[in-house]
């Protein structure tokens, strides 16, 4: 056993941890030190031959490997969209959304994990409901306008108040803060609203009625729908709409696992590495959901490329293509005239150090065997 430990230590920097772990597990119980050494050597040889060689066009292979199954996705998309209970964007539209690095995505979702006593399922509905952004119109069961006295009578929904543990007085306080020009009075379960401005008229009152409905009262801004879900042993809350920063402030929330599918928000709250992880997760989820099989290494490469610059940039002319140093490489992608004109004016130089510009000039591209230069001594 001591030999194994020694060899594992020796190969620590030569082989990735996952291979060492697998190797350690699959070694036979009794083995001579010489054979053990031989096994390690063979594994190392095998590993070296399977590593991507310098100059291999990994980006190209990646583009093909994602692009080819992507063509099949187009047809599948419309079948799968809208099946799940929340009508989530999946398939090709979602794939494009992620790769483009869009700031505003079509379906923002969060998975909110809860801390220990709360994730057992007790009161899960109440917790979920308290997260949801609630506006004043949800507390109204009936609203009418008294034309003669120019007042508004609002009958409050007592069930809703109870569900959120809200006192009518507390509600009035919140309303008073956001709506200035009126006074509130409570009569039984009715709320009498009187505008305090002198030149009030009936039109203003109607407008005011619509306005007061949209006053934010409770919950977390941006969370439009909540759905308690049981996953394995524990309960979690899936939400439509996302606000990672404010959700993290809550005590019941497990801040180590709660996540959103918004890449930019993740980058802002948790940093670039978390954004990269989310990109990988989301891309892989889309591809898996379509029943396709793309190696995760390709997806990791895409995510790495998108997060190279310290911020999330999409695979388009405003993102990673913009950061290319070569003028011709940029021009070959989209809007060629503008790039060539701009660089002509600025007096840019092109070092012809990458692939596409050399293709354009009919030269050897620095890929594979074209990468190394040969040096000979002239006699």
């Amino acid at each position: 056993m001591a030999d194994v430990k020694k060899l594992l230590k020796e190969y620590e920097h030569k082989l990735p941890p996952s291979i060492l772990l697998d190797l350690e597990k699959s070694l036979p119980e009794k083995i001579t030190p010489a054979r053990l050494k031989k096994i390690f050597e063979r594994v190392y040889q095998e590993y070296i031959t399977s590593v991507a060689e310098p100059g291999e066009a990994v980006g190209l292979v990646c583009a093909e490997s994602i692009g080819e199954p992507g063509t099949q996705m187009t047809l599948n998309t419309f079948h799968f969209a809208g099946v799940s209970e929340m009508n989530v964007t999946t398939g090709l539209p979602r794939l494009i959304e992620i790769l483009d690095g869009r700031k505003e995505i079509s379906t923002e979702m969060m998975e909110i994990y809860l801390n220990d006593p709360f994730n057992k399922g007790k009161d899960i509905k109440k917790i979920a409901e308290s997260l949801k952004e609630t506006k004043f119109d949800e507390f109204i069961s009936e609203a009418s306008i008294d034309i003669a006295q120019l007042t508004m009578e609002i009958k409050l929904d007592s069930r809703k108040l109870e569900a959120l543990n809200f006192e009518p007085e507390k509600l009035i306080k919140i309303l008073q803060k956001s709506v200035k020009a009126c006074s509130f009075k409570l009569e039984g379960d009715k709320l009498i609203v009187k505008m305090s401005e002198k030149d009030e008229n009936i039109n203003d009152l109607y407008k005011f009625k619509e306005k007061i409905k949209l006053v934010y009262v409770h919950g977390i801004k941006g969370i439009r729908q909540v759905l308690p879900v049981k996953r394995g042993e524990e309960y979690l809350i899936v939400t439509l709409g996302s606000n990672l920063k404010d959700v993290f402030k809550l005590e019941v929330v497990d801040t180590t696992r709660t996540r959103t599918n918004n890449i930019f928000e993740t980058n802002k709250v948790l940093g670039i590495e978390a954004a990269r992880a989310i990109i990988i997760d989301e891309l892989y989820k889309v591809i898996q959901a379509q029943g396709l099989n793309v190696d995760i290494r390709h997806i990791m490469l895409v995510a790495d490329t998108m997060c190279m610059g310290g911020k999330v940039s999409g695979i388009n002319r405003y993102g990673i293509v913009k950061d290319k140093s070569s003028v011709l490489a940029r021009a070959s992608f989209e809007t060629p005239i503008r790039h060539i004109m701009d660089s002509a004016m600025m007096g840019d130089r092109d070092k012809l150090s990458s692939v596409i510009e050399n293709v354009m000039l009919n030269q050897v591209v620095p890929v594979g065997t074209g990468l190394p230069g040969l040096v000979t001594k002239v006699k």
């Binding site: 990735p16 941890p17 996952s18 291979i19 772990l21 801040t255 180590t256 696992r257 996540r259 993740t266 802002k268 709250v269 948790l270 940093g271 670039i272 590495e273 978390a274 992880a277 989310i278 995760i296 290494r297 990791m300 790495d304 997060c307 190279m308 610059g309 310290g310 911020k311």
Partner: protein, 79 residues
């Protein structure tokens, strides 16, 4: 030092500042200048506890689905 007290999240790997000596060795090993490395914003929440300057290099121990753990380096830039 290694753990960020503000952010403990499964998606955020460990970020570490590397010393000047390690930095030199790293750049020599890969034949790079500092600015050719992938970048990280100096205001990135994951490195808020490290007190980094522009030009410092952060070593990141990522969890990887293929290699279990992989090391990645980012140079700090100012946005």
């Amino acid at each position: 030092m290694a753990e960020n007290p503000d952010i403990t999240h499964v998606l955020v790997p460990e970020h570490q500042k590397i010393s000047d000596k390690e930095k030199e060795e790293l750049l020599k090993k890969y034949g790079l200048t500092g600015q050719e490395l992938p970048k990280i914003n100096s205001k990135d929440p994951a490195i808020s506890h490290l007190a980094l300057k522009v030009g410092d290099i952060v070593k990141i121990k990522r969890k990887s689905p293929t290699a279990k753990v992989s090391t990645f380096y980012r140079v700090v830039i100012d946005e």
